[in-house]
Symmetry: C2
Subunit: 208 residues, 2 copies
DNA sequence: ACCTGAACACCGTTCAAGT
DNA sequence: ACCTGAACACCGTTCAAGT
């Protein structure tokens, strides 16, 4: 029982490279994520990495995809969400307002990405939208359609929510000492969702 | 007609360095903005720059501040806004809805920053919020208070609008080929402003 | 006193030489 | 056939040597 996992050598596939890169980014930040460092983490030379990845940009893209595949979806049964307090997230979507599920989903995404400060930057810089984000994108579009949006508006709303999240996270990692940021995103998120959802079912309220 | 301006040499103050950096960023992008390139643009050695700036991060900060000082404020008299079509921006704020002025202001800011793709990145990465942004920040807070928000909510709303703008611009520069992005920001902006403004004066509407 | 060419310590990437 | 040490072309930054 000396070891079984931590002594990965030989095969050196993309999985191992991405895992090592994620380890470096989580522990020491994106600035320390150099190919030399990743190669050293795997006990190999830096040139060996180029047999499995095209360049550093592709590695960052794989990292973004790796992160995106495990986005939380607290509304769904088999998804973890926040392990500590599932009550708050589960409550969203049961109440009357159609936007609650959307708010809960994006608060979970915020908490998830806030735990990986490099994530927002990698996704923002990624030349391609992570394909692994398809499942969470589909889930979000379904939530938005359930709130009364048509297909076009659901896509626009998804992008708007994503941009708000991205801007908040990037500003946060750049200025970590700013006061009251955790609640700030929640405040903004609820206003944006309110503006989106009310715009679709409000016309009857306003016109009559 | 040989030249009269383009031949700056000798003094080499911060102003000239920032202007040269801005020229490089505008023409060739942020990736080409190296200290060697800026020094070459000014006809001097790269080491000479360090007598006027501490390091590259400070230069980017000065660049962000330079950009922030000339943010458009279309509602105010002596501010340029969009030189081509002042009618659209001036119209905002005259109509009944209190959010129109806010929407017009942020659409002008979007147009301004979209013309300088490096701007959003430089501001996002800047270790300090550009001090030159104080005037536009004050203007925005005034507009938000005029829309009925108290001081705390005005600050939160300003941050939320800024994050939405930042996320939109960064996503746009990363994926330039995305369809329908110009209208997308306007769509999201109007929903966010609606959610912010209605949340303050809506209670009377909902309760009664 | 002030400026700056050359050097230093990195980085991503490539390639000829190893097995 | 597959891997990799050493080299290449950059980068930001520093410093001793110039004027």
């Amino acid at each position: 029982m000396t070891q079984d996992v931590t002594y990965h050598r030989r095969p050196l596939n993309r999985q191992l490279i991405v895992a090592a890169a994620r380890r470096v980014a989580d522990s020491d930040g994106l600035a320390e994520l150099t190919l030399r460092r990743v190669a050293g983490e795997l006990g190999t030379g830096q040139a060996s990495l180029y047999r499995h990845i095209a360049d550093r940009a592709e590695l960052l893209g794989l990292l973004a995809e790796d992160l995106a595949t495990s986005f939380p979806m607290p509304g769904r049964p088999d998804e973890p969400g926040e392990p500590g307090e599932p009550g708050e997230s589960a409550e969203a979507g049961r109440n009357g307002w159609a936007g609650d599920a959307v708010v809960g989903q994006w608060e979970a995404m915020y908490a998830y990405l806030a735990a990986h400060p490099w994530g927002a930057r990698v996704i923002a810089e990624g030349s391609r939208v992570a394909d692994g984000a398809h499942s969470v994108a589909g889930h979000n579009l379904a939530l938005l359609r359930a709130a009364g949006l048509d297909d076009d508006d659901a896509v626009r709303a998804y992008r708007a929510l994503w941009h708000l999240l991205l801007g908040h996270l990037l500003d946060q990692t750049a200025h970590p000492a700013t006061p009251g940021s955790p609640g700030d995103f929640s405040w903004a998120l609820r206003r944006l969702v309110a503006g989106i959802v009310r715009a679709t079912d409000a016309p009857a309220e306003v016109d009559s």
